[in-house]
């Protein structure tokens, strides 16, 4: 297998440059053709888009528990990985929806999203925002899954001692406290279900279930189970 990192596409989201990576693995993007599926089979399956957790970056290879016969790509969110580290913070989950949209516009085909932690929440929002191309979202555990709860907490204004990154300390601070009301998440899940061509466009694989996850699981059209079962649901 090629030991170098896959090709990087540079996308522009306002003043932020985003890195979109190819992710290799036993059955995804393996140029040797020695994977389970040959070149033709990979081309027949839409790509898998990985959205990493808070403070993480797109992995070089697919996790062992992920079996995806098509190509896999991953987006480094603003302030993470090889994407721009902004000056002065100002993160919201909603702005990361714009990041993903930039990737979706670049890919210009339908994708299934595998979101980890923070990426799971962003995947949910994207399922509602881009039902035309998001063909299912599998949500798993990872850093940033819980966010900042359902109500704003007591106010404390903190600036990181040092502004270095990636990951951007402002991202770590602000997205860890990002408020995620249950009804807000439930509304997005409802929109995703209503607008999707899929019967079950959202899939919860997370063991940890903060209030927003519990809320979306009440919505008909949200499945639950292992990552593999979820991904298999979206292969067609």
């Amino acid at each position: 297998m090629n030991g170098d990192r896959g090709a990087i596409a540079r996308l522009q989201h306002n003043r932020v440059t985003l890195a979109l990576h190819e992710v290799t693995g036993p059955s995804a993007g393996d140029d040797s053709g020695s994977g389970r599926n040959g070149e033709n089979d990979r081309a027949a399956v839409h790509p898998l888009l990985l959205l990493h957790g808070l403070g993480e970056r797109t992995p070089h290879t697919l996790p062992d528990y992920v079996d995806w016969p098509g190509a896999a790509v991953g987006l480094d969110f603003t302030g993470h990985g090889d994407s721009t580290v902004p000056i002065g913070g100002g993160y919201t989950s909603e702005i990361l929806v714009g990041d993903v949209d930039a990737a979706l516009c670049h890919l210009d085909e339908r994708v299934t999203i595998l979101g980890r932690g923070l990426g799971a929440y962003i995947g949910l929002l994207c399922a509602a925002a881009r039902p035309d191309v998001v063909h299912g979202v599998v949500m798993t555990d990872g850093p940033g899954l819980a966010g900042g709860g359902v109500h704003p907490g007591s106010r404390a204004l903190v600036s990181p001692a040092e502004s270095v990154g990636p990951p951007d300390p402002y991202a770590m601070m602000e997205l860890a406290r990002d408020v995620r009301p249950a009804d807000y998440a439930r509304t997005f899940a409802g929109i995703a279900v209503e607008r999707s061509e899929l019967d079950v466009p959202l899939w919860v694989s997370a063991v940890v279930r903060p209030a927003w996850v519990e809320a979306i699981m009440e919505v008909p059209g949200v499945g639950r189970g292992s990552v593999q079962r979820g991904l298999a649901t979206y292969l067609r």
Binding site: V16, I87, G88, G89, G90, T92, V97, A128, R155, I191
Partner: protein, 308 residues
Amino acid sequence: MDPQGTTFEAARSYPGASRPDRSYRVDACGVGLAVYEWGHPEAQPLLLAHGGFDFAGTFDVFAPMLATAGWRVVSWDQRGHGDSDRAHLYSWEADLRDAAHVVAAVGDNPLPFIGHSKGGNLVTHLANALPNRISALVNLDGLPSHKAMSDMSGHERVRRLREELDAWLEHRRSLVDRQRRPGTIDELAERRGRMNPRMSPEWLRYLVTVGAAETDDGWRWKIDPSMRMGGFGPWQPQWSLLQLPGIGVPFMGVLGLDLEVMGWGTVPEEVLPYLPPGARFEGLRSVGHFVHIEQPRLVADMILEFLS
């Protein structure tokens, strides 16, 4: 009348308007903020926060009234507005943190916080974040209404969210190298007037000379083109009202009772249950959202009497 329309000199001449006595920059974690002061530099300071899509220069008539009465009025252009830096990202949290940097630059002692509209909401949150730095709080039509949302059916609320999602994404995709639309002073004033129908054309033209910059192909508003009215997010008006009951310093709220497009549609009955003990509340009849522009003398005198 000049065939090219109102000239800069004519537009800049507005009765009672006075540009700040001083200006400087404050570094807010790498974002440069343009800060302005009216009044004697040794006078007691007060903080004055502008509303969304405004800039400190919108206080050019109001601030001098406070300064003449002996205050050192400190205001700033919020990030992305006026002459402050255009940032990578914008958020409520960032605006609060920026405001804290301005407060830190003013010294160590408690001072009054005054704000209009979004600025009023901002200083109300800031009062809870920096209780050690505030001596009094004045909120000028900066208390959001939850009535408009709660009167809406769930179906309608979802429909609006879907529309806003689509519009927001379309806007975000268009941002690379985007610039504000150029025009003459009159054209920019006319555009702003659509969202500020109660403002006089003379005042709007004055604002162009302060809040816009002239380029080769005309005047452009300085505000970051990535900023846009609307958007989506989890914020609920209730969260701002809940900042009020715990305010531990003298508080005065002023509401313009004539509802208009730039306002929040708030009525006194919504706010009164949340006011902190001893709060003063003024509802101004026949006054719209920009209470300090429509009735600068009245509002300034109210504030001066309150702070005394």
